[in-house]
Each structure stands twice: as C-alpha cells, then as structure tokens.
Amino acid sequence: MYPRSFHYHRAKSLQEAAAMLAQLGDQAKLLAGGQSLIPLMKLRFANPAHLVDLNFIAGTSYIHSEAGVGEGGYSETGVSEGGVLRFGALTRHAEIENSALAATVPILHDCAAGIADVQIRNRGTIGGSLAEADPSGDWACVLSTLSTEVRCLGASSPERVIPLSEFILDAYTSALQPDELVSEVMVKIPVKGSGGAYLAFKRSAPVYPTASAAVQLTMEGDRCTDVAIALGCVGLTAIKAKDAEAALRGQTLNDKALAAAGEAASAAAEPQDDMRGSADYKRALVGALVKRAIAIAARRAHGEQVEVSHIYA
C-alpha cells in the first residue's frame, strides 16, 4: 500500500524542523518513529503534503539522569534522589526497555518493554507517542502517575515546559502549537520508598491493550502515604482515578483497601464497546488490573524485585 505522495524534508536540527513546520504550514507533519503515522498514511487516514523527518538529527535520542537540586550524591544505582530523568524526544521504546538507568524507575521499564513488539519498539519514540496522544498509548498513562514535564520547542515562540497533565488535551490532541515540537520528556525520579507498576491486558503483542493500569505509590511500613493511579484505554485520554487513590491514601494496604480501590477505578473508567471488548468487560478488567498493579507496586516500594509483563489473553 502506498501513501499519498508527499514532499520529504530532512531536518538537521530540532530548530530547523520547527522552522520547517512554520514555513510549510498545516500540510506538514513530523516523522519520528513512524509507527503511528506511516500506518495511518498507508490507509490514507493521514495525507500530509510534507513530511519533516526527525530521524537524521543527531543527539535527539538519549536517557540522562540529573541530580536533584540541593540533593547530595548519587545512590549506588547511579540515580540521585529527587533527580530527573531526561529522555530525548526520539528515544526509542527499545532504548528505554534496555536502559539500566530507566529501569531504576521500574514502571518505566514495564511500559517500554510492553509496547507492541520488538520491531515496533525499535522504531517508535517516546516523543512521538506523547505527541500522538492516542487514547490507548502506554506512555501517556504511565507518565501521568509520575511527575512528568514535556519540553516544547517552537519556531516563533520561546521554548516552554508543560506538565504532562496540560500537554495532552484530548484524544489525539496535544497542546503543541502548529510550529511546535516535543524536544524532551522529563520525569522526576520518585522518592525512596516509592514503587510503581504498569499492567496492560492485550490480545497479542502488536496491538494496543484492551485496558491498562499504572500505579505509583509510597509506603511507610504497610501504610500507603501517597499514590497515583492512571487507567489506560478506557477513556479519550488516560484517566486519573482520583477516588481509587483516595481509597488507598493513608490506608493499610489490605484486601479491603485493594477492593475499594479496584471498585473506584472501575467506576472512574469511561470505556466504549469496541472489537477489544464490551464497555462492561473493560470496566471489570481495569479494576482487576488496578488491584494487581497496587500489590506489585507495594512490593517494589519495599525494595522487592518483581518482574511483570503485559498479560496476554
């Protein structure tokens, strides 16, 4: 299948790419991993007249850690308490999956390693995934449980840093201006005693999940002092399950608390019937995923190494 014809432009820097967007106008699109855009173009759901290829720009694919302000020294993992992980916009899912640095925040590894399949992870990028704002995209869901900011670079405006919660506005809609692009994604490293887990339920690898749950919580003994819960694929954007969080905050993590959080998560979901399942089914599923993810996150918060992977039907 051939997409419609388009003019091809190869940017040499992110600044140049932004300038090209400004010059070429709304018929232009950026090309990152191409794993969302190229399939859409082949089906002719997207028909850009110009593609600006970001893949030949050096230095846009990286994972750096940066010490927290006013914090001393690095821990043995090489990551500083209160520090930040910086991901270049073109960092591939596979690079994050294989990064020891990213794995120090286990929920990031859960996410990267579970997206689609090896080949798609080798191409797809974290910046492209956030910019696409697909309701089923894994990164937006996972990163909304961490303190995440998106650095945006425009041709005509000064660089700005937007919290992820203000970056994704709606399904397939980000806060990017027409001549703006994502240059970097910044994730605050959770405090010691915090643990997270991401579980997605899928029918096979190269499809988006049916539902998913991201949980990041902080434990003091068996009491949960802080928690963030996000639900994926059950709404137009990832859903912050506030009532489910409230059901856990300050509580001892026993069966009763887990059940309450699961129920609240199911209630918060806004799923639709589709080929992946009925709305009722997804509602039940997401509640179950939340309960499981809480249990794993709590074990990790206590320092246990727990390997999880996406669950296949």
Binding site: R4, F6, Y8, R10, I38, N55, V118, I120, N122, R123
Partner: protein, 167 residues
C-alpha cells in the same frame, strides 16, 4: 487537499545504502516503502509482504542492527543505513546456522513468515546467547505464522542458540 487532486511533481530523493554488504544507490519517491524498495528496486524478494499493516512481521529486516518492519519504514529513511535481509544470511552457498536450525527442527511449513522470523531470531541471538523460553516468545511476538503453531519455530530458535553455544 482533496483526496482526488493530482499531486504536484514530487522531488525524488537519492538513497545510498548497504544491503547484505553490497552498496546500492537509487533515486526514489519519498512515499516508497522500504519493503517495496528491496523487492522492486533491488530485486531482493526474500523479504515478504504479509499484512502490510505493521502486524505480521513478514517484512522484518535488520536496519543498522535493529529489526524493523520494512512495510512501516520509508526507503528514504534507510539512506546511509546498513541492512541485512534474509538473502544476506547464507554465506558461500552455505545456509546460516539459524536457517539450518529452522530446517532441522521443521520450523517452517509454507515458509511465508520465515524470512521475518529468521531476522528476528538473528536479532535475538546477537543480544542474547542463551535465551530462555520467555526471551524467545518475546523476541518473536511481532512475527505471525499461520502454519506451524509456533512450537517448532520455538524449537528451531532454541536449537540455533544451542548450536551457536556448542560451536
């Protein structure tokens, strides 16, 4: 622009790349997909088109050491790259050990999916010399086979890994 409008003249782009160690240069339309480039321009028809929708992995090739679905990559993006396709596995008329293992373990039936699976196996064994069951499952999760039921593919990959260690 309405879907029916004729596009204006599109500038072709020069692509220079190495496939299986041999250098090629071609002038291509930007919309040409890498798999079409390999098959139509270079006559390397070993890389297959199965689904053409980024699902099946029949079109898998190695690009700069990373497996990609060549139906979901433009040829212009491979400019300057080094590619490995199924044609590059055999050496001097000798099948690659991975190919031999697929034969020995009956890891194929119709063979349509095989070029992609061979490349995915190649990628796996480059990074992991002793893959366990889970590693193998994960490595071929992006390759669909409609014939074998995967059990023999799985055995073939295990055999290829074992042979490699024994060698």
């Amino acid at each position: 622009m309405p879907e029916t409008a004729m596009p204006e003249t599109i500038e072709k782009i020069s692509v220079t790349l190495k496939v299986n160690g041999k250098e090629y240069q071609r002038l291509v339309e930007p919309r040409m997909l890498l798999v079409e480039f390999l098959r139509e321009e270079l006559d390397l028809t070993g890389t297959h088109v199965g689904c053409d929708t980024t699902y099946c992995g029949a079109c898998t090739v190695l690009m700069n050491g990373a497996s990609v679905k060549s139906c979901t990559t433009f040829a212009v993006q491979a400019d300057g790259a080094e590619l490995l396709t199924v044609e590059g596995l055999a050496h001097n008329g000798e099948l690659h050990p991975i190919q031999k293992a697929f034969g020995d373990a009956y890891g194929l039936q119709c063979g349509y999916c095989t070029p992609g699976l061979l490349i995915s196996t190649y990628q796996l064994l480059e990074h992991n010399t002793s893959p366990n069951e889970k590693d193998i499952r994960k490595a071929i999760a992006g390759n669909t086979c409609r014939c074998t039921g995967y059990q023999n593919i799985f055995k073939a990959i295990q055999l290829a890994a074992d042979n490699r260690k024994g060698a």
